[in-house]
Subunit: 237 residues, 4 copies
């Protein structure tokens, strides 16, 4: 938390940015295909990308790409030793991961485990991305000082429906009020470039998604649309 | 369960065998070092080996070795889709894993999850290795028809102390009485070649361990001792 | 397991029997109302009844009734000592509970926890009722020797839809093949007296339910219908 | 959160106060004995008391006492309906409970579950008491606005050893800095009246404990000592 910017895992990471989060939707071959395509576009657009993958695919993606922040979808608060079947943070770093997502609605942590895992992430130098749902959860997690937060109403995940009210502006502001240095991702229900434009205009630092990308019939098309939306927003700013 | 032997993931796997289970004790570089050494000895002795690794290291180990049954330390009963942070069975297979350990004392499953995960393992063609503790647990899990079982009294794990009573003979017999085709690993507290000889003589099909190998100052020495014990037992049989 | 019949918690419990399982559908006052009504009918029909209640209501129900096997909906494998917020088996007995349901689909246990909790139940003298879903789970749990099993396909719980195939006969037979002394409840989707007749004819020892009773506009009517179905089956046998 | 003081479940609760938390150490008869004794002393000293009990004993304790804030050791974020084996908040209220402890180190919750359970507590009118360990956890939970917090270093629970550093002052201040209306309990390792005096002097609003009381050979003696310490502190203030 007190590390100088130059040594922070977030040092070179710039807003606005894209998140591509295939969760468990893709096998290894498809993950690699999506990663290579995203890497190519990330390089061309000059935009930072959080790219998550199954643990088993992290090293493969890290070795095959150069413009992606390769990100684990979970890790455990363990040190070298026991922990059969749990994810050792140190090995994620050795495999080339630069960041880790924690507390996703599909893999929730106790507050004590989240606290301990954030501590381990700082020790090994991984950028931390923590998920939150309600206003209260967004505020509580912001006090823990993660590098990035994903605010999303659990009920909207995977629906292709964005929040119809002021969730995006409101939760982004809640996080920034606690700690303005935390970057905020708003991606629930995002499936088009215009959705990305909307959330960036409402204060988010990053956007992207899972099903909006994975289920699109033409990955190059939807990714190009999303990168373009981010680039346009950046140029206007 | 009803697959013909020739198509079973266990088809080419032969007793007696060794298990090398570094759990979360080793980072990627050390895991690779141990895997290469074990692979060399496995080839020289002509003995089958269950070799587990952190998920992030499975593909690396599978690509670098040729005599090991590369084994995941856990997986989740999910299909392609949601499941952020969970382990997709299909990707383990794509990464080169041939087997998976389930229900370890450090990563216990509900019976329903274990049942569903065994089903997924059969669908994707992974050999299943399930852990059990008490007599009752050994019997219950044997009815689920895993390929291999690890019977170990939880209290002895990592202690370097083997069970002083008849646990080894008794639980091995319980499993075989339910289903004689299940291979049984007895490895709790095993740290020497003579320990391996003892458990094989008492009916086990495989042995090996974690701390008994990892904490030994000379991996080549202890692995050679263990392989030799298995080879000697094999020759006597 | 080796206790003589006369000292078993199941000694006086007779098939066929009814289960009334309000889960968390009722507050204390409604639970008491349902318990008193069930108790009256149980006495009149001379039929045994498993009656579950929220932990907080167990003593109240036990003190107010005399014909019910008052049953906890869960307990933890703890002994007196630490265990903040967990359910101490010894106190259930002091409160007048005679049985406990374990491993319900809405409160699943690891196999090790189920094993340990069954052991605690035997120590304190509670009759054990364990839930299972698939054939494999029914078989595995039967080997653990509970007094009673609830076999139900998780997908049918609370739907008012009974299994359309041979689930009832098949799973009942699986359990009895492992241990003929285990009583089997089949209650998924049961909402009428004729449903109860059907499952008893197909081999079950007991039936009843949750939503089929709780959501019925006239508890006396539906309970009388269910008791009558059991009595008629008993008279025919 | 926005309820007026007069309608708050904490309206009549006054600092400094005592917490008597027998966890799962006592069966029903001993719980009643301890409750009656505490009730007598609470009345005599005119000091508020948080008294927790096993769920099964809550109604019994509430009916037998008049000066205790009868407190559940856990509850689940459910509404009337499904939830087999889970604790329904509405029934706790019907049984006479006035408060609930959440997120104890022995029964940890995910942040989302804690958030939802606090919401349910407010709906049914239960005072909320939430446990936290590290500075970061104390700060995060304080933002959720519980009525009371128990700050305790997990490593000290049940040891009879109090924190040797500035944990008590520091975490109490962290909580009050976030929300001065939250009452703070510091009780880890407290076993004597002088321990209570110390934590009250260091800023805590309440203290007491589990093993320091339960394991004392003379409950009347140790409780009197603790009540006296609180009374003396109150008189000095």
């Amino acid at each position: 938390m007190t590390a100088e910017p130059q040594s922070s895992p977030r040092a070179d990471f710039t807003s606005p940015f894209l998140i591509v989060n295939p969760k468990a939707y893709l096998g290894s071959a498809d993950t690699l295909k999506l990663a290579l395509l995203t890497d190519e576009l990330a390089g061309r657009f000059g935009i930072d990308v959080i790219f998550t993958a199954q643990h088993v695919d992290l090293r493969m993606v890290a070795e095959a790409t150069k413009n992606l922040t390769v990100t684990a979808q979970h890790m455990d608060p363990i040190v070298k030793g026991r922990g059969m079947g749990h994810i050792l943070p140190d090995s994620l770093v050795e495999a080339g991961a630069k960041a880790v997502v924690l507390n996703h609605a599909e893999h929730q942590l106790t507050l004590a485990a989240l606290d301990a895992t954030l501590e381990r992430a700082r020790e090994v130098g991984l950028m931390t991305i923590v998920c939150a749902d309600t206003d209260a959860q967004c505020r509580a997690i912001a006090t823990l000082g993660p590098d990035i937060m994903i605010c999303e109403p659990t009920a909207n995940i995977g629906t292709g429906q964005m929040d119809a009210g002021d969730y995006i502006e409101r939760t982004t502001r809640i996080v920034k009020d606690v700690d303005p240095s935390i970057l905020v991702i708003q991606a629930a229900g995002v499936s088009r470039g215009t959705d990305i434009t909307r959330v960036l205009e409402q204060g988010a630092d990053g956007s992207g998604g899972t099903s909006g990308i994975i289920k699109h019939p033409d990955w190059r098309e939807i990714l190009t649309e999303m990168f373009t939306a981010i680039q346009d927003f950046k140029n206007r700013a």
